[in-house]
């Protein structure tokens, strides 16, 4: 027996951890059809019932105002899952129950998981689960997801709910005045069989609230006459209710929640709430930002230093593999040793800094520190023309620019969103990390971690300057950003499983790229560097050399030789290819050897200028495509490429010239 289970809840309520507990990591990650919003589907089994679990996007409401909300709403209405598990933050129950009420209106088969039970208790909340279940008309299960507390009970309840399906919970009474209008619209909806696939009361409420999608559905299915009949009732309701029905209904829902909480929740005085105590320090007016900078430096230092021995180990493995082909006298042997093992193998070892970076980011995210960082940065961000809401997508950009650009959808103001999209590529993604690791390790061995950190800081400073200028000069971006409203989740101790699974998922993305994009890149680069067959690899006689020699004069003021230039050209494909290209073009195997060659042929100043250029110049092809997709315009994508190339050249030139004066 297979049942469909949907997981839904506000952001930061521990939904993902519950998803992982229910699926035990057996999941498939894709996109919702026609969108770039991530869709996670997993499977779990309990008491011979197989569950297909769909993780719906985190949201606060079920209006039609955002793509995430529409996805969730459409999924529940159209796919009609057997069970909807509403994950609720028990320590913030008043706000979370709003979504619960909306789900009950949708007549979903709801189970409420009262997650973060321990946090609620430490904050002085005592919840009478039995009374709460009775008042809502649906089962409520207390859970502490990271400790797997309540998960078995939740599974039991899911199985029970699928066997004896209830339709929704107890309907909310909005008061006679509102109910009269809901009733009138409901009667019209029930009259038309074409609307029967939608819950009539829910559709009536949505229509009364003026929900554009609901009204469009009514018009499409029942015709314009039915719609105008409903619209006249909505218009009448405005005068009777004395305001926008959407606002009136929201107020009434909160009244219902208040009544429920009065009967089911007790609050006692708590002398100390750990989150408040820590916030006093981490959000302190004077210490907050220095602490943030110190933590970020520690992250990069950790990433660089700890990944080093693991990289060496993998590198040795690839050198041994490369030697299996013996002397590289034939093209096939050369392809194996110089193309695959030396090129692709070389770039693969950088999976370790990437894994360690994601481990650090996962710890920061799951501990609850990242939203605080956004809060801290808000004032600075606002002054430079970006809202605090831009900070999280920008921070995600340190991982990969593509999902970061997609994450800008959380920014509601279109100009803020566009400004953020344009500066995200200046956030140094994980693909650029290998370039810094290699060059900083070769040219600044004692301060490599610090040099890498300074590249990240340079990206942030440039993003601030670009944003500042763009908000003043670029048509379509001029103006002040919207103010930030942000919810700060409680601090939590991250769990090892969640941190490792987050890092592993991202590492798999890198491995997938290695198997496709980077493998193809290695083959092309090997061909260009070693052909015509018989020339010295990467020399001026090779195809790669020809490309490098043609473009090199443009870059000579920056001090880049033809090999460095060729690597930059291929970096447009994917930034890791810069490293792959250097491995192949220098024709040496192993990280140590390449470091020695770089140390011998590139000055520290040129290395610094090169790292800055790699940081700033055109983002990879996938990022450009994402910008086009999210801005729905090639114009903005072209603008991005043009300004980044100009900026990269200017900054690298300043480093090269100023450095030579010092």
């Amino acid at each position: 027996m297979m049942v469909k289970v949907a997981l839904i809840g506000n952001p930061n309520v521990g939904k993902t951890v519950i998803f992982n507990n229910l699926t035990r990591g057996r999941e498939h990650v894709g996109n919702w059809p026609g969108t770039t919003v991530e869709k996670r589907v997993g499977r779990g089994k309990h008491k011979s019932v197989t569950m297909e679990i769909v993780d719906l996007p985190g949201l606060y409401e079920l209006t039609a105002s955002s793509i995430a909300e529409l996805i969730a709403r459409d999924y529940i209405v159209k796919e009609n899952p057997d069970v909807v598990v509403n994950v609720v933050d028990a320590s913030n129950i008043e706000r979370n129950l709003y979504l619960t009420l909306l789900l009950l209106e949708l007549e979903a088969n709801v189970i409420v998981a009262l997650n973060m039970w321990d946090v609620a208790e430490s904050r002085g909340y005592g919840i009478d689960v039995k009374t709460l279940s009775e008042l809502l008309g649906v089962p409520c299960i207390p859970t502490i997801a990271p400790k797997k507390v309540g998960i078995e009970e939740l599974k039991d309840e899911i199985v029970r709910a699928t066997q004896k399906r209830r339709v929704g919970g107890r309907p909310i009474s909005y008061g006679d005045d509102v109910e009269m209008f809901i009733g009138k619209i409901e009667t019209i909806i029930l009259r038309d069989a074409r609307l029967s696939k939608y819950p009539a009361r829910w559709l009536a409420i949505k229509a009364l609230e003026g929900d554009e999608r609901a009204l469009k559905t009514i018009e499409e299915l029942a015709g314009p006459e039915t719609l105008s009949e409903i619209l006249s009732i909505v218009a009448e309701s405005r005068s009777v209710l004395g305001g926008d029905p959407e606002v009136v209904l929201a107020e009434r829902r909160y009244n219902v929640i208040r009544v429920i909480l009065e009967r089911a929740v007790r609050k006692r005085e708590v002398k100390l709430i750990l989150t408040d105590v820590l916030d006093e320090v981490f959000l302190n007016k004077y210490l907050g930002i220095p602490i943030f900078l110190a933590i970020m430096w520690t992250v990069f230092y950790f990433v660089f230093e700890v990944s080093e021995p693991f990289m060496k180990l993998l590198n040795e493995g690839f050198i041994m593999l490369g030697k299996l082909a013996g002397e590289t006298k034939t093209p096939l042997a050369s392809l194996w040793a110089d193309g695959i093992c030396s090129g692709l193998g070389f770039v693969l070892q950088f999976i370790f800094p990437i894994i360690f970076l994601y481990i650090a980011l996962a710890i920061l995210e799951q501990s609850g520190y990242l939203p605080r960082a956004a809060f801290l940065m808000d004032r600075i961000m606002y002054n430079v023309g970006l809202g605090g809401r831009s900070f999280i997508p920008m921070l995600l950009g340190f991982g990969c620019n593509v999902p970061a650009i997609m994450a800008t959808r959380v920014i509601k103001d279109e100009r803020d969103r566009l400004a953020t999209i344009l500066v995200i590529p200046l956030m140094s993604c994980a693909a650029r990390l290998p370039v810094y690791v290699l060059i900083a390790g070769a040219l600044f061995p004692e301060y490599a971690g610090t040099v890498v950190f300074s590249m990240y800081m340079l990206g942030i400073i440039l993003a601030i300057l670009v944003s500042l200028l763009a908000r003043k000069l670029v048509p379509g971006l001029k103006g002040k950003p919207a103010p930030l409203l942000l919810e700060l989740p409680p601090y939590r101790v991250p769990t090892l499983t969640a941190v490792l699974s987050f890092a592993w998922r991202r590492a798999l993305v890198f491995l997938e790229r290695a198997g496709t994009v980077l493998f193809a890149g290695a083959l092309i680069l090997w061909f260009l560097a070693y052909f015509p067959w018989g020339v010295e690899p990467g020399s001026g006689d090779s195809y790669a050399g020809l490309i490098g020699n043609t473009l090199q004069p443009i870059f000579s003021p920056l001090g880049f030789d033809s090999k460095l230039v060729t690597a930059l050209v291929f970096g447009f494909w994917a930034k890791e290819v810069v490293i792959e290209a250097l491995g192949i073009l220098y024709g040496v195997e192993g990280e140590e050897e390449i470091r020695s060659v770089i140390a011998a042929s590139v000055s520290p100043l040129t290395g610094l200028a090169y790292m800055a250029f790699v940081l700033i110049y055109v983002p990879c092809i996938a990022t450009v495509a994402a910008v086009k997709k999210e801005t729905l315009s090639w114009r903005w994508a072209a603008f991005l490429v043009a300004y980044q190339l100009t900026l990269a050249y200017a900054v690298a030139l300043i480093i090269a010239r100023l450095g030579s004066l010092l």
Binding site: E121, S122, G124, G126, I127, D128, V129, K130, P142, R266, R268, V270, K271, L272, I273, L274, V277, L278, E280, V281, F282, N284, L287, P290, I291, L293, A294, I295, W297, T298, Y301, F302, E305, V306, S307, E308, P309, K312, L313, Y447, G449, T450, F453
Partner: protein, 152 residues
């Protein structure tokens, strides 16, 4: 928490904070080549780790005034200092482990003395404060006992 305990904690935080700031400054000055002492074997010349140490020290020092006058308002900063010194200390211990692994793989030398950076021994010195703040959290933040039906 009684006044004497708070005053003792305040004195300890003052010493720790001052040491962190001093080490941080020396790390920065060593990098600039103006360190007054020849101690580069024990204190590395690294301006960024120096900055991080100063931040930890400042957090400890932030707690001192309140604690020395017997007020609990300083305890959050004492806890913040412990959290930060743990982050820094654990990171440097992991890095020392990575360096050991590196030298083991390459057959090179590994000097424990060089790896024992100030951030590590200052972290070890912070452990009594960690114990003290844990006691405070346990005493103040223990969830009260609701009647059983209010819990499940």
């Amino acid at each position: 928490m009684d006044k004497w305990s708070l005053k003792i904690a305040g004195s300890y935080a003052l010493a720790l904070g001052a040491l962190y700031v001093a080490c941080g400054l020396l790390e920065i000055l060593s990098r600039m080549g103006v360190s007054p002492f020849k101690i580069d074997r024990f204190i590395p010349a690294d301006p960024f780790s120096g900055f991080a140490s100063i931040v930890v020290g400042a957090t400890y020092l932030y707690s001192v005034r309140a604690l020395l006058t017997g007020r609990e308002e300083g305890l959050p900063f004492l806890l913040g200092g412990v959290v930060l010194s743990t982050i820094l200390g654990v990171t440097f211990i992991l890095v020392a482990g990575a360096h050991w692994l590196d030298s083991w793989l390459e057959g090179g030398e590994f000097s424990l003395a060089e790896e024992l950076r100030p951030e590590i021994w200052l972290f070890a010195s912070s452990l009594p404060v960690a114990y003290f703040t844990l006691q405070w959290i346990r005493a103040s933040g223990r969830p009260g006992s609701f009647p059983s039906r209010w819990l499940k």
